[in-house]
């Protein structure tokens, strides 16, 4: 894969991902990309952040390199490391470096999960220097003119203890994502799960009621993604109750009372 064009090709999104725009986020992101401004996508899990960035990458015609961040991720996992072959050591670029070199959009999903010292490597990339120093290799890469950095994080996980550093936060423009309003969410669920709008509307109604329990037994209510899953099961001939039980009630909580409350909601709405 030494050919950069081939390497980038695998990250290209070929077909238009389905995305229903909610407000002006497409326009805003387009403007941010025009000046290669780093962007942060905020919002609860399963509300469409990842789908949005895929859609934008397709729309802008840029390859998208996604990194799912986790607590054990080191800076080397992002920028690259020395490997060995028969000849000796060879340098292997990490996903961030690839994006920087070749001009892709690099999407760091759930960036708070990564340790704070790891996230610091993105700092020189996100101000007007737009450089990535590879300390181990003694190289300074100037970012490709098409490169853009996008991160996502879910404010629900946020606590006083775990948050982005102020110095990281302030480098980004932020788009706030929430669950879509009822007609829009119905449209998304109906289309993604391939079910009738009436049924999708019912699922959305259930989800909206479940979101009342946020912070009162649930960390988050049912997400759009859960509804799509429920819809797909129903599409396979599973009953509404069973589908909701499997994709909403059981995944959301282990607390018996909260589960029963969710079941009450499902039976009241249906």
């Amino acid at each position: 894969m030494s050919n950069p064009a081939l390497l980038l090709d695998q990250y290209r999104i070929r077909e238009e991902p389905y995305y229903r725009s909610l407000k002006d986020e497409v326009e805003l992101f387009g403007a941010a990309y025009a000046s290669r401004m780093p962007v942060m996508l905020k919002g609860p899990t399963g509300c469409g952040k990842t789908r949005f960035i895929e859609y934008m990458a397709w729309r802008l015609g840029r390859p998208l390199i996604t990194v799912a961040c986790h607590e054990d991720m080191t800076a080397a996992d992002l920028v690259g490391r020395w490997l060995l072959d028969a000849e000796g050591t060879v340098w292997s670029d990490g996903p961030l470096t690839t994006a920087v070199r070749l001009g892709a959009i690099c999407y760091l999903d759930e960036v708070v999960e990564a340790r704070q010292d790891t996230t610091v490597v993105i700092h020189p990339l996100t101000d007007d220097r737009r450089v990535l120093p590879l300390e181990k290799r003694g190289e300074l890469i100037h970012a490709h003119s098409d490169f853009q950095l996008v991160i996502s994080y879910n404010p629900g996980y946020q606590s006083a203890i775990k948050d982005l550093k102020e110095s990281t936060k302030q480098r980004f423009a932020a788009l706030d994502f929430g669950y879509p309003d009822r007609p829009a969410e119905t449209e998304v669920v109906s289309r993604e799960a391939g079910i009738e709008p009436d049924l999708a509307d019912l699922l959305v109604k259930i989800a909206q009621h479940s979101r009342n329990l946020k912070g009162q037994g649930l960390d988050e209510g049912a997400s759009t993604r859960m509804l799509v899953n429920a819809g797909r099961l129903i599409g396979c001939g599973i009953s509404l109750e069973k589908a909701c039980e499997t994709t909403i009630v059981v995944p959301l909580t282990d607390d018996a009372d909260t589960r029963n409350a969710l079941r009450d909601v499902i039976s009241a709405c249906a």
Binding site: E71, D72, T74, A76, R81, W82, L83, L84, G88, T89, R115, Y157, S159, A160, I161, K162, K205, H209, S210, N212, L213, Q216, G217, D219, A256, D257, T258, N260, A261, L262, D264, V265, I266, S267, A268, C269, A270
Partner: protein, 762 residues
Amino acid sequence: MAVAQISSLDSFRSGRRLAALLRGHDDLGAAVQAARTALHRTDQLDHLAAWDEAVHELFAANLGQAVVLGFLHLSEQWPAHRSIDDLIAIGRAARDVGRNAGSRAAHALLTEMSKVLPQLASAGELSAVLVALGQLADVGPESVGLALGRLGPLLAHAGGEDFSAWVSAGLRASGGRASRRRAYFALDDPLSARLFAVGRTGDDFARLEKRLAATMLALWNRKPRFRKLAIAPTPVPRRTSLAAGLIGLPETFPGFEGEAADAVYLAAVAHAGAHLVHSTVRFPVGRLKALQIALVSLIEDARVETLALREMPGMRRLWLPFHSATPSGQATAAGLMTRLARALIDPDYQDPDAWVTKGRQLFADAAGRWTDPAISREIGGLLGNDIGQMRLQFNAKSYVVEPAYRDDNLALWDFGEQPDSPTETIELAVDSVRIERRDDPSSQSTDDNAKPHETLRAKAGAVTLLDGFPVATYPEWDYAARTERADWTTILEADAATSAQPFDASTDAEAMRWITELTRDASIGRRVRQKGQRDGDALDIDAAIALTIERRTGSISEPRVYQRDAPGPRDLAILLLLDLSQSTADRDRRGRTVLDVERKAAAIMASAVDAANDAIAVHGFSSDGRERVRYVRIKDFEEPMDAVVRARLAGLGSSHSTRLGAALRHAGGYLAGRRAFRKVLLVLTDGEPSDVDVPDPQYLVEDARRAAQQLRRRGTDIFAFGIGEDRFPQLDRIFGERYALRVPRIEVLPQRVMQLYAELKK
């Protein structure tokens, strides 16, 4: 196949050995044969040798023939589907219990086990019970018989784990004294009775409250405040009541049990929510008669339910089963009203009655205006006139809203200041507004026939608290003389008294919330990846590459190329020291005492710290002169945060003064014995040090300061929380400015304490 043959051969041999041993005990030999034959049928041949062994051991334990026969009898009856391992475990337990508590206890165990076996379906539950009995026999052999007698009744409503919890709480709560232990296991102890009653129903409201609150919030986005209504001894059944912004629910709906009870509470809460959302105005009572009030309420019920059903049609399934009126019912006013109630909500219901049909028609005609409460007033008024013309009797005193899930509808009405309003209405109103307060300790003890006992016990608790045993003496620093007075203070330690008063249940939920929040932080409960290890479960790529490079360049270094997950650092030992001086009983404007919040903070912190796998102890102190510095250990480091500790927290009282220095030194001693990376002493106090025999306020401040400094020098971190609106000018002097934290609003103390813990964990 071969294995089965070998094991059967094994069992054959061991059987012969056993037979040889029992030679001369003919009746035993016969029983062994019978049991063996029965066990053969269970098809678990490979366990038979172990079973022989167990019989052998039981025989050798010399507990008498009755015990061995008891076991053989149990074996003969052993259910085929159950593993013989469980049987063997029972045999071993009988032997161990017998050794410590005598053969009668062992025999009782075997008899009880044969009775409760079906309730202990899993091996885990069985072994929980057996282990608990083993411990009891070890520590309190005199109480085994008592505990065994309670096993059956407890398992009727709870599990083996609950039995185990009950036993272990008893062992700890009775502080090693046989008399207290006996009282506990005879259920003659409030804490025991409370733990024993776990899982027992009878109060449907208490059982369902949390679920109903969640359902209410999810369905209606209204956070409900529930009140439990005691069942009144009147012939009129209790209904839900929405008075004063509270949802009053009866503690039970008589006649509804089990799933039916769940259903009626659910229906009631859904109906109450419909009112809260859709009943937006209150109707003036004016000169309306009781009948008209009842009818307007009935239409309003139907109106809010209809609106609710537009959004959530599934609620019909919730409500309809309770509408059981039929056209053949009595043509009384009340009878017709239940039929109308059904007609308005059940589209499939047929009723030929002209009045019911008219009501239905009027309601249907108003479909365009269903969102307007005024239609209830209109339609109800019209229908009321009709009933009047039909000359049907209506008895306001015996009238009760039907069906059972509907509320009494008093919240719909504005009674105003009407001196001449009809008396029936007022009676109706008064009866249903009679809300009993929950958590009212005085009302609780009135129906407790063991009351004299209760006070005696409280007194006994107070006496032990007063006395205590001298356990240590400490020096005290005289700042004026600049000298340390040796052995100047005496610490008296006493058992913490327990109280059966239920502990604030919200603390658990709050502690859990904190834990979830804390565990999201990398440091708590997570595992740490250690890199560059000599062995481990995965290759550390970076280390491996570095090593290979070094090898190739010719240098030799250690092969530390693995990484492994290790538990995060369990590095904190916290001692929470509570000020129990008299002033902690002072109430703030909202009636809370400092002791209350100390208690709550301690409970939350102890649960949270326990769950985060750190060690925490909770101790308290007060003083009455230098010879009597009282010190109670509410929770030791090794103790789990459980019902016993909560009962001790609930049993804390405030008295006397605050000789802080001596308490700090004593607490420091407990911390010094711990092995932990970081030791933290956390003091909760509401005032400055003082004592009866010390006129100079500065004296104890300087002594406490010296004690704190000495502890710090030995590596203990000390933090102090000054609780209340005082400015605590001396707190900085004693603990140092950065370590003295102030909590003017006492209710935020638990939060502050947890924040400090989060900081310490970083």
